[in-house]
Symmetry: C2
Subunit: 320 residues, 2 copies
Amino acid sequence: MATIYEVAALAGVSPATVSRVFNGNTVSPEKQRAVREAAAKLAFTPNKTARRLRKQSSEVVALLIPDIENPFFTALARGVEDKAQESGFSVVLCNTDDDPGKELRYLQIAASEQMAGVILAPASDEADLGAIASLGSPVVAVDRTTPYPVDAVKVDNRAAGIAATTALFDAGHRRIACIAGPVGIESTEDRFLGWRQVMTARRAAIPEGYLQHANFRADGGHAAMRHLLALPEPPEAVLTTNNLMGVGALQAVVEAGVDPARFGLAVVGELPFMFLTPPAVVQVRLPARHLGTTAATMLLERIGGDAQPPRTVVLRAELA
Amino acid sequence: MATIYEVAALAGVSPATVSRVFNGNTVSPEKQRAVREAAAKLAFTPNKTARRLRKQSSEVVALLIPDIENPFFTALARGVEDKAQESGFSVVLCNTDDDPGKELRYLQIAASEQMAGVILAPASDEADLGAIASLGSPVVAVDRTTPYPVDAVKVDNRAAGIAATTALFDAGHRRIACIAGPVGIESTEDRFLGWRQVMTARRAAIPEGYLQHANFRADGGHAAMRHLLALPEPPEAVLTTNNLMGVGALQAVVEAGVDPARFGLAVVGELPFMFLTPPAVVQVRLPARHLGTTAATMLLERIGGDAQPPRTVVLRAELA
DNA sequence: GAAGTCCAAGAAATCGATTTCGTCAAGGTC
DNA sequence: GACCTTGACGAAATCGATTTCTTGGACTTC
């Protein structure tokens, strides 16, 4: 790979002039032409590492998501990527496995790699943004917020929980349980608070054990559903606060010999490939890509110098 | 963020000594202790960009995949990531959208960012590895091969196509069509060659139009299936050469009012969430994660100095 | 003619970590 | 005692691109 010194020698100018041709304007047309020709002949590509070190910045942003195999997050990543690319930025996708230790490591890497900013679906309320914040790099929290004063984009999760639970009520169900994600995750809590709000408003009983916490994955939803079905007074319907747990719950229902068409299931998020889903399943569609593009837009504004106070944008989910 | 100069000043040594403490061995125990204490007090993290520029290498590898929303590739990515992390490497995941232009751009970025190597699911036979090859950085092709002399890991795709088609035959189907991916993709071609091989060996007719090419996605499979169903002599079964096209094909079958339980479908790859799948669907399970871990292992060996001639490892798919 | 201003462009410094080179001291061998 | 080897460690160079500083020439104004 050719260096700027080789281009300069071939063009008969100094390296500073080569740099000026590509980054600034005070070069005569004659020397500009010589430089561009030399660069083309040598297929010159600036060494991005050297640029990054000198400029203390780069055209790379990090996206930290908790589970690369969850279609919600891959759709969100697509949204981020599409928007970032429009502005000449690359996205480094980091999979935290919902593990705060992994998350911290990626945040440190983002800082020591001079990344232009970070979009973060936090693994917990304890995301440590110290390293990245001390550099003044912008951060946007997506889907879940963080105590740090940073921009955020999220879904109105309580409204999603309300809409899903209301739909189960409207379908005639009264004994409605809830399978939520791990304790301490904001989007989880808001969704089951929506469930509880509807149950309370409708004066429906919430028997002991009707709120189960699981691990966000199909196997967690499966285990929780089995637990619910083993209760003295099993539910006739269930809300799961994410899509993969909904799959696991439905699986447990089928395995227990319960007719899926008569069991009520509401899922926050989309079950993949809807036509294969029993007709009675309520799905609350999350705007995953829109979350991604919105987060990227906000981050790009910060990178571009936007200095207004941190804000939170709330997007609506909708019944599918 | 503290620099090595600040650590050196606090420890009362030169920056070269600080570097030696963390990278070499010729430092007295007394000075080692002073350096480590100073580094801890200042929360020193080496500036990775500076390291990378000086060393002309990094602990980052790139993984280029053609579709981040295809579960096959996200599982492959998980395999790569798990293996790379074991050895202290980070993975940069790049989504090429099966677009050779995007692929080329990412390859150039990998070169100008001094990445340690690239694992590449090529977007076409024309992947241009010139930039990365001129740096001597190792490349491993995964799932599909490339004309460049590099290591490769793939599935025995012809055997997968043979197994899938044979299973349809054994289920009693004789009019078996094939929906393949875009022309020119090696894995696609091997799979439909497997289909054709079985059809020929079993002396089954292949009417005009029984081989459809589609775009790898559910919508492509959907359109191709509709085309097949509109033939004068529609097939009673179909092989799709990837999972998403299988979903689209099944959707078209349902929409056409054909009973999915009586229509034969074989899919190379796993349909998501099997229990929702009509029981007659044949699935040939691809070892996606194993592809990933194998590719990463080979790349790490190359990074570590392995200089033997390029090799290709072929993994087997299996009937689910 | 002298002084001031502006522009183009080369030389040198900068970014932060690593490596190379040179020096000194200690120990061993002849 | 002289010479050689080894280890520790500081000073300087290196990586490649960008930015800052300085200089010279051209032009304008007084």
